[in-house]
C-alpha cells in the first residue's frame, strides 16, 4: 500500500489520532504536511517527523479562518505541490448538557469540526480535479451515529461530517476523487482521557473487544482509504470501534 510521492495534508496532527495518521501516511511514503494551531506545535510536528523519518513538516493552520486555509494551501502548493490526500482530522469538544450549553460552546465546535471540513475540502478540490485523483478522509466519530449525552454539539458535527462525505462523494466521484469517513469509537487519546472513570466504565463494558482503541488502529484505516487499495470505496463511513456500535 504505497503512497509514494503523494502529498498528504493532515489537520490537527499535533497529537492523538492526527499524529498517528500523519506518521502512518508518512511511513507509506507520502510527503506529509501536518497542521497545528501554533508555531510551537508546528515545530514539534516537524521535529517528530524528522525523528520518525517522515518526509514533510508541521505548519500552522487555524481551520476556522478562511485566510489561514488559503495561506497554508499556497505554501504547501509551492513547497510540495497540490495535496492529493486530505485528512480532515482537527476537532475539539466542548461538552455540556444542552440546557447549559452556551452559544460559544455550540458554535466553536461547529466551526472547528464541521465548517473546517467544508473549507479544507473546497480548497484542495481544484488540484484533485485536475489530477483526476484525490482522497479525502474525514474523521467522524461513533457518537455521530449513537449520540452521547453532553455532546449535542460534537455529535451534530460528526453526523454532519458523514452526510457531507456522502454528498461530496457523489459530486466528485466522476473525477476519480473518493471521499470517505472514519468513525473512531473509544480511542486512547487526550480527548478521551478527559472523561471521568464514571463516564468510561459503561463505555468499556459495551465494547466487545473489551479495550480502548489505539490511535494507530484508526491511522491504518485512514491509510487504507488513502491508498489505491480503496479505489472503489467512496461515500462510506468505516466504523473502527471494537464493536461498540455496529451498523
Amino acid at each position: 500500500m504505497s503512497l509514494e510521492a503523494k502529498v498528504a495534508l493532515v489537520t490537527g496532527a499535533s497529537r492523538g489520532i492526527g499524529a498517528a495518521i500523519a506518521a502512518e501516511l508518512g511511513k507509506s511514503g507520502a510527503k506529509v504536511v501536518g497542521t497545528a494551531t501554533s508555531e510551537k506545535g508546528a515545530a514539534a510536528i516537524s521535529a517528530r517527523f524528522a525523528e520518525e523519518g517522515v518526509e514533510g513538516e508541521g505548519m500552522v493552520l487555524n481551520v476556522t479562518d478562511a485566510d489561514s486555509v488559503a495561506a497554508l494551501l499556497k505554501t504547501v502548493q509551492e513547497k510540495y505541490g497540490a495535496p492529493q490526500i486530505l485528512v480532515n482530522n482537527a476537532g475539539i469538544t466542548k461538552d455540556n448538557l444542552l440546557m447549559r450549553m452556551s452559544d460559544d460552546e455550540w458554535f466553536d465546535v461547529i466551526n472547528t469540526n464541521l465548517s473546517a471540513v467544508y473549507r479544507l475540502s473546497k480548497a484542495v478540490l481544484r488540484g484533485m480535479m485536475k489530477a483526476r485523483w484525490g482522497r479525502i478522509v474525514n474523521i467522524s466519530s461513533v457518537v455521530g451515529q449513537m449520540g452521547n449525552a453532553g455532546q449535542t454539539n460534537y455529535s451534530a458535527t460528526k453526523a454532519g461530517v458523514m452526510g457531507f462525505t456522502r454528498s461530496l462523494a457523489k459530486e466528485v466521484g466522476s473525477r476519480n476523487i473518493t471521499v470517505n469517513a472514519v468513525a473512531p469509537g473509544f480511542i486512547d487519546t487526550d480527548m478521551t482521557r478527559e472523561l471521568t472513570d464514571e463516564q468510561k466504565a459503561p463505555m468499556l463494558a459495551a465494547i466487545p473487544l473489551a479495550r480502548l482503541g489505539q490511535p494507530e488502529e484508526i491511522a491504518k484505516t485512514v491509510k487504507f482509504l488513502s491508498s489505491d487499495d480503496a479505489s472503489y470505496v467512496t461515500g462510506e463511513t468505516i466504523h473502527v470501534n471494537g464493536g461498540m456500535y455496529m451498523c
Binding site: R126, M129, V172, R175
Partner: protein
C-alpha cells in the same frame, strides 16, 4: 499566437471531450455540448489558467455559452 476565440474553443473541446468543429459560438455548454454542472466548473478553472485570470463565481455562473466565454475574456483581459 492564436486568437482568444481559438484558444477558448480549444479549451472547451478539450475539457468537454467534443470535436472542435462542434464548438460553435452559440453552443451552450450544458444543452449543446453535454456538460454537467461539474464540467462547467472545471471549464471555468481551465479558462482561468489559460488566461491567467480569476473569474469570480457570480461571473462564472453567467458564462453558459462559447460566445459568452469569449466575450468575458475579451472584456476582462484585453
Amino acid at each position: 499566437m492564436s486568437s482568444i476565440e481559438e484558444r477558448v474553443k480549444k479549451i472547451v473541446a478539450e475539457q468537454l471531450g467534443v470535436k472542435e468543429e462542434e464548438v460553435k459560438n452559440e453552443a451552450s455548454f450544458v444543452e449543446d455540448l453535454g456538460a454537467d454542472s461539474l464540467d462547467t466548473v472545471e471549464l471555468v478553472m481551465a479558462l482561468e489558467e489559460e488566461f491567467e485570470t480569476e473569474i469570480p463565481d457570480e461571473e462564472a455562473e453567467k458564462i453558459t455559452t462559447v460566445q459568452l466565454a469569449i466575450n468575458y475574456i475579451n472584456e476582462n483581459l484585453a
